[in-house]
């Protein structure tokens, strides 16, 4: 689940771009009501959630770190303490670096596409147009589908020879390509399926942001004789800056966690050419039964995610400071 910190309804502007999580957001309301209720009442409200949260989020987070210092097998026996062995091993493990590279590769290819196409779709439909529900259904609909429906359909489209994708290439005189079986194309094919599946979310965020740009800016520009193209570059795109920043960050964080569609479409193949880091964690833990090692890689990856978040947070704060 990704969370955008958008401002109050009606003004869908990120108050502060997502990333490093910080404390609550004080509003005047919270300081007045409820002050008098006793301490016990407060605990009663939050307790059910805290129990679940502690058991299924905090504890696994802590125990995973703990396990990374042991040689635990999947059978659950305690295993021996190996100190930093797992950690040292992972830095010398080429599979860690290659799967990390595939994750980064996927992120680098998919992020600009998912942001750009989402913006393009929002620009296209952000005006008085007939059948708005149809465009929304077409662009956002795929987002609600289960990942397996998406991958079954795309594996079928990408079938060598009699697949629809090859047929369309044929119209342009291009021989069929090994969409999922050729290491040169497999990652791109996965990105294509991902774009189709998830761009709708960015599309809706952009659409909401576009609708909050004040109309009078365009009126003024039109009176000054600014062309449509000019208005797009001088008003629309700059006004969307914060939304774009937010979408890029969310997309980066989402893309870094890629696993499901790759696992289902290529299982990381051909010849591990598309295996992402999450799948290596899965393989280490559930195929090779090395829970401790899988935990160490998880934490290595977790640290990278935090690094990206912190870097982004620093960057945004500096940007905001400039204004």
């Amino acid at each position: 689940m990704a969370v955008l910190r958008t401002a109050e309804p009606g003004a869908p502007r990120p108050s502060r771009a997502a990333g490093a999580a910080s404390g609550g957001s004080p509003t005047p309301a919270r300081n007045r009501a409820g002050r008098r209720s006793g301490s016990l009442t407060g605990w009663m409200f939050v307790l059910p959630f805290l129990v679940v949260y502690a058991l299924f989020l905090v504890w696994p987070t802590v125990s995973g770190l703990w396990m990374s210092f042991f040689n635990v097998s999947l059978s659950g026996s305690a295993g021996e303490f190996v100190a930093l062995d797992n950690w040292i091993e992972l830095f010398g493990d080429p599979a860690v670096w290659s799967s990390l590279w595939h994750t980064v590769q996927f992120t680098i290819i998919s992020t600009p596409l998912l942001v750009g196409v989402g913006l393009g779709m929002a620009l296209l439909t952000n005006r008085a147009m007939p059948a708005r529900w149809l465009w929304r259904l077409a662009f956002f609909g795929p987002f609600v589908l289960p990942v397996t429906t998406v991958t079954l359909i795309f594996v079928w489209l990408f079938q060598p020879g009699f697949g629809l994708a090859d047929t369309i290439l044929g119209w342009f005189g291009i021989e069929g390509i090994g969409w999922l079986s050729d290491p040169r194309f497999a990652m791109w094919s996965i990105v294509l399926a991902t774009l189709w599946w998830t761009v709708g979310f960015n599309y809706l965020l952009y659409l909401a942001a576009l609708q909050s740009i004040p109309e009078h800016l365009y009126e003024a520009a039109a009176i000054d004789g600014a062309s449509r193209w000019r208005q797009l570059w001088s008003i629309t795109i700059p006004m969307l800056n914060r939304t774009t920043g937010l979408i890029v960050v969310l997309q980066l964080l989402a893309s870094l966690k890629v696993f499901d569609q790759i696992y289902l479409m290529t299982s990381g193949g051909p010849n591990y050419a598309t295996r992402p880091i999450i799948q290596y964690i899965y393989d280490a833990g559930f195929t090779n039964y090395r829970i401790g090692y899988a935990s160490a890689i998880s934490y290595f990856f977790f640290a990278l995610i935090i690094l990206v978040s912190v870097a982004q947070f620093r960057f945004t704060s500096r940007q905001e400071g400039k204004k």
């Binding site: 990704a2 969370v3 958008t6 979310f201 365009y218 449509r228 193209w229």
Partner: protein
């Protein structure tokens, strides 16, 4: 992808006093071009779904015939649907997904709304620290938890039960964050009056705050439901018994199970996606508003 149409961003509808000399003609041209481009992109985006539905309505022999035909020679048939429904697995996965997604949604809404209210309107010692810990949970990628969660579930003896799938999905800090922000924005005067009349915090929460929050609760509920229904990795790991599989996990086995029977595979894919597409059509407005205002969702 298609190039952006310059000027597609706005119509003149909003500013009638724009220079009128040449605008109307140019405007109409832009509108038509914009509409055509939009229709083309929309068609591209619907194409995979249309092709899947089309394939599912063919006889197995005709799915792989070349050249491709949208309308098969022997006409459309429902054989593939009949076959997978008779086989029965899909219906069981439907039932499992429904039970799990409904349970996750109801339980999440209940405990998350209580907690968010507690953080928003009550005071207790350590609240700041506890809330900070909850917010820190936003940073933890759920995929990192699969290994320790699997061990934990083994220890609890919950593997291959509904609970193993349901429980971890309830720990949703993002939902607490969203609801707390919403509760913060409700004017406290409304609760003040009820408190004067002697209502306790729980009564105020149930009678006043929840009804005021219906729209945001619906949005959170829909997204929790979609997330739970579509979740793949965790249910895939937590269940090995085919009787307990959810739609996404069950469908993952379909392609191997059906071999090269593409009509059946596509019929399964279509049926697996249909409930959520219907849900989307019904709740379109709430979903759109939910994304726009709270920005929740996931990949």
């Amino acid at each position: 992808m298609t190039t952006l149409t310059p000027g597609a961003a706005r119509t003149t509808a909003g500013y009638p006093d724009a220079p009128t000399s040449r605008r109307p003609v140019g405007e109409r041209v832009w509108n038509i071009v914009g509409l055509l481009v939009t229709a083309f992109v929309a068609f591209l985006w619907l194409l995979p779904l249309l092709w899947a539905a089309d394939t599912s309505l063919k006889s197995e022999g005709e799915t792989t015939q070349l050249p491709l035909r949208w309308i098969p020679e022997s006409g459309f048939t429902l054989d593939a649907y009949r076959a997978i429904i008779e086989q029965g697995d899909l219906l069981r996965w439907f039932a499992n997904s429904t039970v799990i997604a409904v349970a996750v949604t109801v339980l999440t809404l209940a405990i998350v709304a209580l907690a968010a209210y507690g953080f928003s309107r009550t005071d207790f010692r350590g609240k700041g620290l506890v809330y900070a810990i909850v917010i820190a949970g936003l940073m933890v990628p759920p995929q990192v938890l699969i290994v320790p969660l699997f061990q934990e579930m083994t220890a609890f003896g919950l593997l291959d039960t509904y609970w193993a799938v349901i429980l971890p999905q309830l720990a949703a800090p993002s939902m607490v964050y969203i609801l707390k922000r919403f509760f913060d924005s409700i004017p406290p005067e409304l609760e003040e009056a009820a408190r004067m009349d002697g209502a306790g915090p729980l009564t105020i929460f149930l009678r006043i705050v929840l009804p005021l929050s219906r729209s945001v609760l619906v949005a959170v509920g829909i997204f929790t439901f979609i997330g739970a229904w579509n979740n793949f990795l965790w249910p895939f790991i937590a269940t090995t018994n085919p009787d307990l599989m959810t739609i996404p996990v069950g469908l993952a086995n379909v392609s191997s199970g059906y071999g090269l029977m593409y009509a059946r595979i596509m019929a399964s894919a279509v049926l697996g996606g249909l409930p959520l597409l219907i849900l989307f059509v019904i709740f379109q407005r709430q979903i759109v508003r939910g994304v726009a205002h709270t920005g929740l969702g996931g990949t």
